[in-house]
């Protein structure tokens, strides 16, 4: 890093720069049908240099990577070439983040462990969660990552953060009577809570058994549908992406500040806030790739878009305060009592192939891999059905649970009830 900085500083030209250094060390275990197949270690470091050239009212930037093989002479050549490339770019001018220094360690309890021991504890917990006779975990992967990110720029900004993350991918499978089905589970976290992890895997194994027993469903009318936190995460991240400064600036966005996401709300009012960190969330961080300190931002309040968020550059282009690229979406809890979720008939979604949304076509839908059909008297697992409906109707009538949950880079209601969906 110091050599790169020295060469950038001593290069005889008028330009600004940023260096992103990312070191990723990982320890990974791969299991096939309960046996250890592969053990992996990685230790890699990327150094990307971005050069900014201001010409008139414009600014251009371009970048290159520095490898262990890059000699000092090559480094000078790369700097010179990249200055030329940056000068070809005529985008509106903006200022790089100002001088600021800091070292940050994202809160975790992983530092108490040796990576191999930590991965072993996690693997033992995952496999130990299987207590059903007809279920198994046919494939499991455990990743422990330590990521150290450093950002330096020519204004004197110099920041470093260290983040630990863990990822478990597990394939819960149920086999009975010669027939076998599976579900997919991926859990990301940065705080070890073996009890919660074990519970999560045990739930998925039970769901795999339910999928085994599931039948196709034929319903008439449009009963209410219960979505869980995974579907809520996928659905509402679409809105967060749409309200990013870059999407707004490039005319990719459908919504802008002041627009109503709920045009005639009859359910809970939407409230979305973007955040930098949340306890246990693997996405947590202190600053973004520009080194910009992350500032919590309210995006949607009372169903109305009240703000946007995003990078230093696009924030300045829009004349807004850059918030940094915030990694976590938090959704306000709702008002629905548990009783509202359990009065039938209703379809309780457990696993989907992925919820599909199209703002332009006012569409939401997807294929359901497992759901529970509550007809008011009995409950039975169902599969092989799809749902589709008008996104605007869903938003206007959605009711959220009071209870919240963390799922991936989402913290918000654990469940929501939607109406007016076609089930087919």
């Amino acid at each position: 890093m110091n050599t790169i900085i020295e060469h950038l500083k001593s290069y005889n030209a008028d330009f600004e720069y940023k260096i992103n250094r990312t070191r990723k060390e990982s320890y990974e275990l791969f299991f096939v049908k309960g046996s250890l197949e592969t053990v992996r270690n990685t230790d890699n470091c990327d150094r990307e240099v971005t050069i900014y050239v201001t010409h008139g009212a414009y600014k251009g930037h371009s970048s290159f990577f520095v490898y262990p093989s890059t000699t000092e002479a090559e480094l000078d050549r790369l700097i010179g070439q990249t200055i030329e490339k940056a000068a070809l770019i005529s985008n509106p001018d903006y200022a790089l983040p100002a001088a600021q220094t800091g070292e940050y360690a994202i809160e975790t309890n992983f530092t108490d462990y040796d990576a191999a021991d930590l991965a072993a504890e996690i693997a033992n917990t995952v496999f130990g969660a299987n207590t059903l006779a007809v279920t198994s975990l046919n494939a499991v992967e455990v990743f422990i990552n330590r990521i150290t990110e450093t950002v330096v720029n020519s204004n004197g900004l110099h920041k470093q953060q260290q983040r630990w993350t863990a990822m478990v991918e597990a394939i819960p499978t149920a086999t009975e009577g010669g027939e076998s089905v599976e579900l997919y589970e991926q859990v990301n976290f940065n705080a070890l809570d073996l009890e919660s992890l074990g519970r999560e895997i045990a739930d998925k194994l039970s769901q795999a058994k339910a999928r085994h027993d599931a039948k196709r469903l034929t319903v008439t009318g449009a009963p209410k549908v219960i979505l869980n936190s995974q579907e809520l995460m996928e659905l509402f991240w679409n809105f967060a992406d749409d309200l990013s400064y870059s999407a707004v600036y490039n005319h990719h966005s459908v919504y802008k500040k002041g627009d109503a996401l709920q045009t005639a709300p009859e359910g809970d009012r939407l409230g979305i806030t973007m955040a930098a960190s949340y306890p246990g969330c693997a996405g947590s961080r202190a600053f973004d790739a520009d080194g910009l300190a992350l500032t919590r931002q309210r995006l949607v309040d009372g169903g109305i878009a009240v703000g946007c968020y995003g990078s230093n550059r696009f924030g300045q282009y829009l004349g807004e305060e850059p918030t940094g690229v915030l990694p976590i979406l938090t959704l306000d809890p709702g008002t629905a009592e548990e009783a509202e979720f359990v009065t039938g008939p209703y379809l309780e979604v457990v696993s989907m192939s992925g919820i599909q949304t199209d703002f332009y076509a006012d569409y939401v839908g997807g294929e359901i891999r497992l759901a529970y059909w509550h007809d008011g008297e009995t409950v039975r697992p169902v599969t092989g059905v799809s749902i589709s409906g008008k996104l605007s109707d869903v938003l206007n009538h959605i009711r959220f649970s009071k209870e919240c949950a963390l799922f991936g880079n989402y913290y918000g209601p654990k469940k929501a009830v939607i109406e007016g969906m076609n089930i087919f």
Binding site: V32, N41, T42, D117, A119, F127, H251, S353, S386
Partner: protein, 467 residues
């Protein structure tokens, strides 16, 4: 283009490392990867010249020992060999607290072969300035065509790949390139805003630059028609898929299910169907890095196995799957050259390369004419595999209604094909004689491990559930 100077400079280091580690382990290999990717683009508001997301440079050391595979990914293998070997030995461990046993590794084949491979390209004949000028000029020409355009984006993405594989008995190197060109627009009309794009993908920049303007009229017409599109009425219909959707179905609905590491893990229903009908007798399907020249083409895979051309379905019968080294070893089959890594930092799995249904004998016009009421389903958006249970979710950008054997002006968007894979594949009743393979795709395994692939084929007539 030529083989990476960096990897060439590390060839002797790789050989020395293999020799040293072989004193301890039964099997040792070193893979070196150097990918230079760049992106040049222009839209109405911004221009860009940057490193591409595929850019990487590094090594992965793989050994078999203690009944498991060990891997170590690092940036460079040059330096004090003794220190490096000690570091690698130290990293190859698992905790005594682990309650699960090693799988047990059978003998790995390491057939002698020393060979260099190169697919010529023209990446070094075009500067970023030339590519940027091209993008800006085409963008301006497109913008002049309509006032409905809110934003127009033109981009060129190039990848120059070099790989070096060294084991005790093998020493292979390869270099090849791929180029993606893309035009996309944001279009506003009828109080609706839509986004649509299309591209060209070729081994050379010259071919992409020549062909890319040819997609413009189609992009603008599609964008215009999408503003008239209505929601699909869910139901089961006769459909004809365009080449993009044929490719997506082929890839998502069936391709993932014949990745043979999924056989080993008992994660694929296809394992039970080898030698049985899984599709209509007029369906033939292939996968292989050597099956055609496209985004998934290479000369040897990331485990040093030469590229294959695998017949997966022959006359509707499942013949075989595609394998990486360890799944082939476990199943006692020959590896098919499908062991691929997202990068030198990730594990190899059995992965698709270029996956497609082979052309048939029918004409698209006759296929459409044979339908009283149905849909021509076009342009893939995304899809999700379910190899264990053969459920489908394939999302198309749009479908055009067919009435009385003719295409209408009634467009529907978006459109989701769902259902059960064998039901869909067995319902295929016509296959067109033309075939296009689209090489702009990225494929994940589950929700990670992204590799570049192509897929495609002819148009097919089938019966499917649309929503």
């Amino acid at each position: 283009m030529s083989f990476s100077e960096f990897l060439q400079s590390r060839r002797a280091d790789a050989r020395a490392l293999v020799t040293e580690l072989k004193k301890t382990y039964d099997y040792v290999s070193v893979l070196g990867v150097d990918v230079k990717a760049r992106t040049v683009s222009a839209n109405n508001r911004l221009t860009n010249i940057a490193s591409g997301m595929d850019t990487e440079c590094g090594f992965v050391v793989k050994v078999a020992g203690d009944g498991v595979f060990y891997e170590y990914s690092l940036d460079d293998i040059r330096g004090d060999l003794g220190v490096l070997v000690d570091e690698i030995h130290r990293s190859f461990r698992f905790s005594k607290a682990l309650q699960l046993k090693p799988i047990g590794i059978h003998d790995l084949s390491d057939e002698p072969l020393v060979k260099s491979f190169c697919r010529e390209s023209d990446l070094d004949r075009y500067s970023e300035e030339q590519l940027l000028d091209y993008c800006k000029e085409l963008r301006d020409r497109i913008n002049a065509k309509s006032e409905n355009l809110l934003n127009t984006s033109v981009g060129i993405y190039t990848m120059e790949t070099s790989k070096l594989f060294v084991s005790e008995n093998r020493e292979l190197d390869q270099s090849y390139a791929w180029v993606n060109g893309m035009v996309s627009v944001i279009w506003r009309e009828n109080d609706q805003t839509v986004q649509f794009g299309s591209g060209e993908n070729e081994p050379t920049i010259a071919a992409v630059l020549e062909k890319l303007p040819g997609v413009v009229e189609e992009v603008l017409h599609t964008a215009h028609m999408l503003t008239t599109a209505k929601p699909m009425v869910p139901g089961e219909y006769d459909i004809v898929t365009d080449t993009h959707m044929t490719g997506l179905i082929c890839h998502e609905a069936f391709g993932h299910g014949v990745e043979m590491d999924m056989f080993v893990k008992d994660r694929a229903l296809a394992k039970e169907y080898v030698g049985k009908y899984v599709a209509s007798p007029i369906v033939n399907m292939k996968d292989g890095a050597a099956s055609c020249v496209s985004a998934g083409s290479y000369f040897f895979d990331d485990e040093g196995v030469l590229a294959g051309d695998t017949q997966i379905i022959k006359d509707g019968i499942l013949v075989t799957g595609i394998s990486d080294l360890s799944s082939a070893l476990e199943l006692g089959t020959a590896p098919t050259g499908n062991g691929r890594r997202e990068s030198s930092r990730r594990k190899a799995y059995a992965r698709m390369t270029n996956t497609f249904i082979e052309p048939g004998k029918d004409r698209l016009e006759d296929m459409i004419a044979s339908i009283d009421h149905g849909y021509y389903v076009c342009e893939c958006d995304n899809g999700m595999e379910d190899p264990k249970n053969w459920a489908i979710q394939c999302v198309a950008k749009y479908a055009i209604e067919i009435k009385d054997g003719k295409l209408t002006d009634n467009w529907f968007s978006p459109v989701i094909i769902s259902g059960y894979v064998p039901d869909l594949l067995k319902s295929i009743s016509m296959v067109s004689s033309d075939c296009k393979i689209v090489g702009a795709g990225m494929c994940g395994k589950g929700y990670k491990e992204w590799v570049r692939v192509s897929d495609g084929g002819p148009c097919v007539k089938a019966r499917a559930k649309l929503g």
